[in-house]
Symmetry: C2
Subunit: 505 residues, 2 copies
Amino acid sequence: MSACRALRGNALLRAAAVARPIASLESRRTFTATPRAMSSFYKGWEPEGPSVKTQIPGPKAQAAIADLDTVFDTRSLNMLTDYSKSVGNYIADPDGNVLLDVYAQIASIPLGYNNPTLRAAARSNEMINGIINRPALGNFPPAEWAEVLKSGILKVAPKGLNQVFTAMAGSDANETAYKAAFMWRRQRERGGASVEFTEEEMNSAMNNQSPGASQNLSILSFKTGFHGRLFGSLSTTRSKPIHKLDIPAFDWPQATFPQLKYPLDQHVEENAAIERAALEEVEKLITTYHIPPCAVVVEPIQSEGGDNHATPAFFRGLREITRKHGVLLIVDEVQTGVGATGRFWAHDHWDLPHPPDMVTFSKKAQTAGYYFGNPELRPNKPYRQFNTWMGDPARALLFRAIIDEIEKLDLVKHTARVGDYLFGKLEALAEKYPGQFNNLRGKGQGTFIAFDNPRRDEFLVKAKTLGVNIGGSGQSAVRLRPMLIFEEKHADLLVDVLEKIVKSW
Amino acid sequence: MSACRALRGNALLRAAAVARPIASLESRRTFTATPRAMSSFYKGWEPEGPSVKTQIPGPKAQAAIADLDTVFDTRSLNMLTDYSKSVGNYIADPDGNVLLDVYAQIASIPLGYNNPTLRAAARSNEMINGIINRPALGNFPPAEWAEVLKSGILKVAPKGLNQVFTAMAGSDANETAYKAAFMWRRQRERGGASVEFTEEEMNSAMNNQSPGASQNLSILSFKTGFHGRLFGSLSTTRSKPIHKLDIPAFDWPQATFPQLKYPLDQHVEENAAIERAALEEVEKLITTYHIPPCAVVVEPIQSEGGDNHATPAFFRGLREITRKHGVLLIVDEVQTGVGATGRFWAHDHWDLPHPPDMVTFSKKAQTAGYYFGNPELRPNKPYRQFNTWMGDPARALLFRAIIDEIEKLDLVKHTARVGDYLFGKLEALAEKYPGQFNNLRGKGQGTFIAFDNPRRDEFLVKAKTLGVNIGGSGQSAVRLRPMLIFEEKHADLLVDVLEKIVKSW
């Protein structure tokens, strides 16, 4: 789409917004100039506000959904989207509805729809080459692959981790990290990288049996955690039965994730005890579970499972326990990574004395994989960790462009600031409307904020009618996942709609 | 890259080829005009032949590989590639070596490097939109998604299958198909789609235990089969120990894949008996294995596992047995699909009275997923088969462009014809050099051809020095996986190099 067409699109959106003012737009006007408001990152880019013209889905969307459903399951469809008309923080649909989007494709759009910088990257010769000449990266990497990694994926590698195995999405990023953990542990048990596999191991592996297939090792995960939905990752996912029913799973252990009480500053002692108990349970499972874990996988903030937070002290304790018992620590930053918590990686908040062994990423990175540092995490022989594509260089190039833009616009600090601003406003709302914004959490975690509402599902539906697209997590959480270009003015608009929702009840 | 720059690239390649004629080029001249030769699909596009200037890797590649190895495992690296200089059937490296490529990124490049039609597709507004606005397809599909599917992925859907679940690559395509199979089977056992899950099922599923997690059901696969390397797919992969060692696996059954004797026309009775025995083993496993299979997964031609073929009669028998016992048949067309066997899907050769229940695809499709037809294979509730991205619309658009080009150039028929031509030449070679081209297989299967050589690994290395990039499979197979734009003239060049290799010993 040319710049000229993009502008025309914007103009249409604005015209529409002016033509049919709705309640949320009118009241938003009271927020147009706050002391901390700043101008848009890309001038003249976004519409000035949401515009809801029909019920959602409207007539055009309904017809299209019925058509789509004949070939593609649409029962999880949230909103049929017109991406060509979606701009910045605003998502559009075929009926001309335009919503402020704080769900962002399940937390996976970093810089807004139709971002002009990413558009330029998508038009580059490098990108076109990556699209049409898709390599088998493990066998035939592009000559410039080292440079692409170093100036992109690895430029933002977590402290202490300087290597990467690239993957396709969160599930296989986690599963390949698990595979690396199993291989690492068995190598240590065998006595090192130079010890050859036995005949018995090779034969039993082919038959899916021990000792070749490590049926006697596990991955420990946490209750209400989410790590993906393929067979290995799903075995560590403990979010909801609907994710797991009927799918065979490995007999791997789960520990209780701390269930903190809010507000945090009023439950300091109690929460510390909760976290100590959780760590004791982890240690007990590590030392006594009948299939001992070779790794612990944990999200910095359990996202799908309900926006469950723990303190840096808990994670430092987890690092200490895992090191003590020779168990790897895998930090799943699929949803928390790439800036939304006000640090590039959420685990940067923890001030760990020793880095995690592996950190997985996807979503806002638009590509995926796991970082590691310890050279022992490279398997002792080639082709043990391998597949045809091993990721997608086109998507790696996009991540590089995303990283450059995040740096150029200082979006991580920006998100920390806007998050603080938003959190303050939500605290005020919570006080004003008791019982509506429960367990408000994510303070100091950028815009990675959530609260519980007793009528959560209705809450999300109502938000759409008022011009905001919001997601849920767990049983009752409203999860906010704005993009990194979310500004104070968007926060004002959001808070205004949130208030309207609870006032309408 | 502009058309003008592409042409300049070509000119450079040609100049290089002329400047340093090598043995393989000289002898290729004897093949320049065969009765069946046809002109290139894209005029002035490809170099006239390979050009080997240095050892491979040459000095530039060696330096770049050492650099890459500091951040990315390079031990499985076959050839560092300069994709900007690779054209059509020819792959280039940073040292200016240009090889005829009959490996094609492990059988995953359909239409040649830097294909001008795909380049145009990559520059389209639709593609750019798909790159920069990556949707969560299950929640927020693009308004045009039905049309993209119908004019692309579903336009080539196997007979009888009219729906698709989209995925990222072969492994998750297979695993999501397996998940659909488990859910389908358990639903039947429960008594239908309307029967609710019990409390016990929901609780046990969260604990990775039966009855909620179906530990008492399995997927049956075949020895020497390959279906991917994540935890579920790897449990069905039986190719080599190095793929499986140290990774936990499910206790699922494996049946013997027919080990046919060649040439087929001299072993008709014997092979029929081998296939009958294999089918009996499958039926016995279905009826007696302690964890009964809900599905059988099979490759039309076992590819990674050594290019093992079976006859249509075997597959018809497999379909009959699976139907008889209420077991689903999943045909893994990840490597065989999209034209290389001379039919769009390899299972089109079988003339099945009832279609497979699911067919998985990836590689040459440049996107992935599974096809199905039976509406019962949609799980009874939403969010049972779901993940954030559920594929990549940008890659789906590329597949659509690939399909259009295959149709326009009639490349499936073309490949059937070139395959016959190549097979005839290889039969002559096999006769001329006994013991060098053993078990020549793939007759009537397009260019999906292989043979065994007693010094296979050396064979592949030698081929590179003579200007051809070839892959292996299994223990001793040389596997030919040319692109769909492979012509008689390339077959001549290939056969010439194959002869040179065995003559040099």
